[in-house]
Amino acid sequence: MNKIKLTIDGKVVSGYPNQTILEVASDNGIDIPHLCYHPKLSKSGQCRLCVVRVGGKMLKASCTEFAMDGMDVVTEDEGIIAARKLVLGLLLQEGNHNCLYCEANGECELQRYCRMYQMEEPSRQIPFHEREVDYASSNALRRNENVCILCGRCVRACGELQVSNIWGFAERGHRTHLIADDDRRIGESNCVKCGTCVQLCPTGALSFQQVLGRGLNWELSKESSICIYCGVGCKIDFYTNPQGQLVKTMGNDEGPNKGQLCVKGRFGFDFTQSPKRLSKPLVRKDGVLSEVSWKEALDFVAAGLTKIKEEHGPDAIAGLSSAKCTNEENYLMQKFMRAVIGTNNVDHCARL
């Protein structure tokens, strides 16, 4: 495809004719404020925060306006700032935003732009419509529509990425609100709890129920690993609080899952911090499993295997390795059975 050249903020940049202004800008390291746009979703042009000036005249929504050869784009001037502040001001008036009570505090996109444009508390000239708060119907998702900006990212995420089509908008104008299925609460809908909508929500309108720990978003530490469940091998970012408790998981965009997760990858990890976890080796004494030291347990196993090998030969011993363990551990298990015990009696649950 032929490349096109255009000017953004006085800088000549190149892009492709099927790209929007926002996409070309983003590829060239120029950040245009946006809320309803998300690179994984179709474009809706709803929020109008991404307006830019094209050809020195018109304000256009850069997320839906295609880039054209020779275009001259300005991403911020006085008029644009005024337009964006108007948009933000209306969003603030329409909702009830108090960051103190909000899960998204510290990572909220609306909060970020409000700080960027030094927004002040709204004057409440527009009548405020209380919308639904549903923290209870689902054991996985929480919804507070009073901080919803109706960007529709959740609706598109559910329809385009998870393809469950649970979320939708009902009614029009200032009565517009989010519904699940045919006007049910989320907990009573066919939602499969994948959490993709929460991951893509720009504010705290959708959030996760608490799994284990809590924490301020800026205090959480993040580390990636691979999901323990099926063979897709989803890459997950795990968030832990300063106390070392798991708080939440987010799909990592670099994995084969491209950021998506299922209900197990999203919520199936608190078993790792279950009080039922084993913490002492056990050896059966007089018919009862009794706590012993690591040294005693390991000596017992080594002596027992040695004795059976000597008395009955290596093929009287078998080993079960695990599809839940790492490559390194599986390699070592088969090496142990083959090189140390001397048998090929090693298998795992591949067939089960």
């Binding site: 709890k193 099926c230 078993f271 050896v283 839940k324 083959r338 795992h348």
Partner: protein, 530 residues
């Protein structure tokens, strides 16, 4: 998988057979669903039980359990008869076509429909024509193909079909088995199998024996292939296997014929279990060794598309628990091995030396790149699509395969067919998911899915606790009366120890790969009188 997850959008259509993708591999399920629903791609689903994907399918075949080979043969019969196959691919890249075509002659749509319990034989013709028009079509399967006494033949049949259509070695095509555990691919690659060293090198070969004796500094490696999981249990039951070292597995829940497994484990002189919980299996152990969970580990895991990915320490080790590799090394060294691995990276460096397909993969590279084996050198980018130029053996071999029925047929005493599987919210034996609060709350107990006709015949209500029995055992379980499987077929998820499906399943095996027939056995259902 011969191909890659990222290629889902490149297919023109999909044949999903024996895979409840949206529940068992949900992220891939969503990708396929998105292409079908939002991009108009075509979908053919073959499954005895209605699944989410079957509702979106252009053709859906609710076959009798255990008749995959018949319907695949039926599709191929039509494709050959109507000359819709990829002649160029078949002539240039494959062999054995004539013999297979001869075998397929009798698999007419009517003959196949009769075996599979399909009402409209014409649909087999329609679906075959559609498949031939999809260039390329990807085939996805899972345990609904393999867990039969004819499992190996089922897999070969999927390969037959995709070679016939010329869908091998091309992006968006392929035979794509979806592996059920996060590192089942890696465990196989690493040689945690009774007949092969790492990278599937046979243990029976003298040459391989010498190679590994040299690499490991070991003497007298055995060239006799070992026992598979179910054979180990049989040998323990017979008293031939005296000791079992079980790392991170739960055979009491996961192996077929639970009563037999428990007897086998009780018969052992030494039973060592290494796990994170006191599982159903660990309760029979002589020694239990507490190990680290996946979030406390570093190392690598290999997914269903052969991508080797890094795992990182997210949590500190659980107090008192140790890394699995550390425990194995401690036992090995007490038995005189003299190993000196200090960290997983030391082990991985050795893996690279003895596993040709992993030779080019390093910890440094996989932090930055997505690498799929085979990756023979550090400058090799990895392999996204297998069999591009030629197959592993040179030419792709068509295998003439006859349909064979499942091991256990229904009779007057056990009149229903029982099939088992997984559900979205739980995983395998439930050790992890049933200890995860939100998942456990969402689905707290098992159920048996039964068709309204059967429920009416036996006078069962929805939600009633009934008894389900086979020749091996009996369980009590709540019904879900729902039209998903056909009348005469009941479905049971196997995650729940209170209503353990594997008390019922049959431990007969595929003669080649020794996979048990979890997907079909005959059973009876009875009302429990108050």
């Amino acid at each position: 998988m011969t191909n890659s997850i990222g290629e889902v959008p490149l297919s023109e259509g999909y044949l999903v057979i024996g895979s409840n993708t949206t529940e068992n591999h949900p992220v891939i399920g969503s990708m396929i669903k998105g292409q079908v629903q939002n991009r108009g791609k075509k979908l053919i689903v073959v499954d005895p039980r209605q699944i989410e994907l079957s509702q979106l399918a252009d053709y859906y075949f609710p076959i009798n359990p255990g008749t995959n080979i018949a319907i695949l043969n039926g599709f191929m019969h039509v494709i050959i008869k109507e000359n819709l196959y990829n002649r160029q691919f078949v002539e240039a890249r494959c062999e054995g076509f004539e013999e297979m075509a001869k075998t397929l002659e009798k698999y007419t749509p009517e003959y196949v429909a009769n075996i599979c319990g399909i009402d409209k034989p014409d649909d087999i013709v329609g679906a075959a024509r559609l498949m031939a028009s999809l260039k390329p079509m990807a085939l996805y399967y899972s345990m609904g193909i393999t867990q039969f006494v004819s499992g190996v033949n089922g897999v070969k049949s999927t390969a037959n079909l995709q070679m016939l259509l010329g869908n091998m070695g091309v992006e968006g095509g392929g035979v794509n088995p979806l592996r059920g555990q996060n590192n089942v691919q890696g465990a196989c690659d690493m040689g945690a199998l009774p007949a092969t060293y790492p990278a599937y090198q046979p243990v029976a070969s003298e040459e391989n024996r010498e190679k590994y004796e040299k690499a490991w500094g070991a003497k007298g490696l055995s060239t006799k292939p070992g026992l598979t999981v179910v054979e180990m249990m049989n040998a323990a039951h017979a008293g031939d296997v005296k000791a079992l070292y079980c790392m991170g597995e739960n055979p009491v829940m996961s192996d077929p014929n639970q009563e037999h497994v428990i007897e086998a484990l009780k018969n052992l002189d030494l039973f060592v279990v290494q796990d994170i919980f006191l599982t159903e299996t660990a309760q029979y152990a002589d020694v239990v060794l507490p190990s680290c969970s996946f979030l406390e580990k570093a190392g690598t895991a290999t997914n269903t598309e052969r991508r080797v990915q890094p795992m990182h320490h997210v949590l500190k080790p659980w107090p008192g628990a140790k890394d699995d590799w550390w425990i194995i090394e401690e036992i090995a060294n007490r038995m005189g091995a003299g190993w000196t691995y200090k960290k997983p990276a030391d082990i991985f460096e050795e893996i690279r030396k003895v596993t040709p397909s992993y030779a080019g993969i390093t910890y440094g590279r996989i932090e930055k790149e997505a690498i799929q084996w085979p990756c023979p050198t550090e400058s090799h980018p990895g392999t996204q699509v297998l069999h591009r130029e030629s197959f592993g053996r040179g030419k792709g071999l068509f295998t003439a395969i006859e349909y064979t029925p499942p091991y256990e047929e229904t009779d007057s005493e056990y009149p229903l067919v029982l099939t088992t599987g997984r559900i979205l919210q739980h995983f395998h034996t439930g050790t992890m998911t049933r200890n995860s609060r939100i998942l456990d709350e969402t689905v707290p107990e098992g159920w048996v899915e039964i068709h309204p006709n059967d429920a009416s015949n036996f006078n069962f209500g929805d939600g009633e606790v009934i008894s389900v029995s086979t020749r091996r055992g009996s369980i009590r379980i709540r019904t879900r009366v729902v039209e998903r499987s056909k009348p005469g077929v009941i479905f049971l998820p196997f995650h729940f120890y209170e209503s353990c499906a594997n008390r019922l399943t049959v431990d007969c095996l595929d003669p080649v790969c020794k996979i048990p027939e979890y997907k079909v056995c005959s059973c009876k259902v009875e009302k429990i009188s108050a």
